[in-house]
Symmetry: C2
Amino acid sequence: MAAPTQISANKCFGGYNRRYKHASSSLSCDMTFTVYFPPAADETAAAPSKVPVLYYLSGLTCTDENVIQKSGVQRACAQHGIAFIAPDTSPRGLNVEGEADSWDFGVGAGFYVNATVDKWKNWRMYDYITKELPALLASSFPTLDTANASIMGHSMGGHGALTIALKNPGAYKSLSAFAPICNPCNVPWGTKAFSGYFGEDNKELWKAHDATELVKSYSRPALPTLVDTGSGDSFLEVQLKPEAFQAAADAAGFPVTMRMQEGYDHSYFFMASFIDEHVAFHAKHLKA
Amino acid sequence: MAAPTQISANKCFGGYNRRYKHASSSLSCDMTFTVYFPPAADETAAAPSKVPVLYYLSGLTCTDENVIQKSGVQRACAQHGIAFIAPDTSPRGLNVEGEADSWDFGVGAGFYVNATVDKWKNWRMYDYITKELPALLASSFPTLDTANASIMGHSMGGHGALTIALKNPGAYKSLSAFAPICNPCNVPWGTKAFSGYFGEDNKELWKAHDATELVKSYSRPALPTLVDTGSGDSFLEVQLKPEAFQAAADAAGFPVTMRMQEGYDHSYFFMASFIDEHVAFHAKHLKA
């Protein structure tokens, strides 16, 4: 596993946003990611200490940079002493025919699955997020306590966070999402992605990456979960379907705090407004 | 004076970012600006109340959108009940020959002056910020207490805030800046802009828009002033020269809090790290 190379660093709230590039074995291309190191865990600290990590999975079209620039998450991460991990959303630069034809499929739209359709064989974001990246962080950054991790995400990344946490019991201390795609098997974004990456007939695989399906059979350990969606989100009814996840969770006895935030839309302005609460939620469970 | 037309609105920290377009008489083109209305002063509030305003002048290449998306200023403005006014940085769309040849002159680089060189006769950002925009806000938005105003800015906009406040005693309750160009007559960005907008020989006009010159003769009323610059700012020595402003202020007996923030650079990450302190500083003086 090749060590990541730092490509930029910006001091922020006493810590540093550090952006890295590395050759990904899962995806067979170079990938970038950013880690926000809170003050105590940065290499510039007098006596750096180990801190928990919070993975953040981004939405369609995003890179690692959007949330780093627009959410203001560093403030709360500095306060609570949590490292924030922002990966990219798909392989890039592979020149697969048609990879950039759509903004909701291919480049920038990995949906956090391992594709089984041969054409998209390098789209293995599930392995990248659940295996390669944690191992890379553990081997590269001694101040990251990668065994003490939580996960969150936005939109497509909310789908990613929900499904990855539900499929890996015990791997994450807590889970949260902003405006997640809750039931991809039944919405246009999800059916387009799953048809493309898994094939139209592979419905069992579709269900294996659908949070509303996965929550039905989740047993333990407890997975504290917080979901915020905006009532003014233009994707709410057609793409997100939080009510489907809520109903399935309730039927399964899976406790989840689902909040509808009056008037908020799908943007980073929505996320910025509640990111402090999400980080505080994760901090409580990471420190337990 | 034509009323501004709203072109977007995003709920944020309980209030709204509202972006407007209007036909500017000072600049002879359409201009955009964004107002962040804190919860109590937004049109959606049950009983909207009047709030003070904080003008923010942006740096080179920026529009009104950068600070709205990247600084996280809305959080503190919501908390203190202050409206945040983000104008653009120059006229746009006038098709003056060469207007977009440089990133530090012409479009996106108005330097908050009224140009006297005929070719740039529409570059009247000083009038726009000090006269047209306040009048437009006063006539268009009943919840803005435009007589209760403070001003701040970043880089070129820090120069703008310093010079505009010093040239208009009593117009602003307080003044702050991030990484301002403090002595434009003596740095490359400033001499290029002033040569272009005023002509090479018009040195008295240059001095009339140089904070280090203006502070020498500022008398009253008291103008509480806070300036933050990062020690890791790559423009610090060649373009910013805070030490020149500090020396002139000290010699003139003008009280200013000038802070050097260890390791911070010129980016919005620097600004985001201290924006709460700047808003709190202005809130104290606006409420006095």
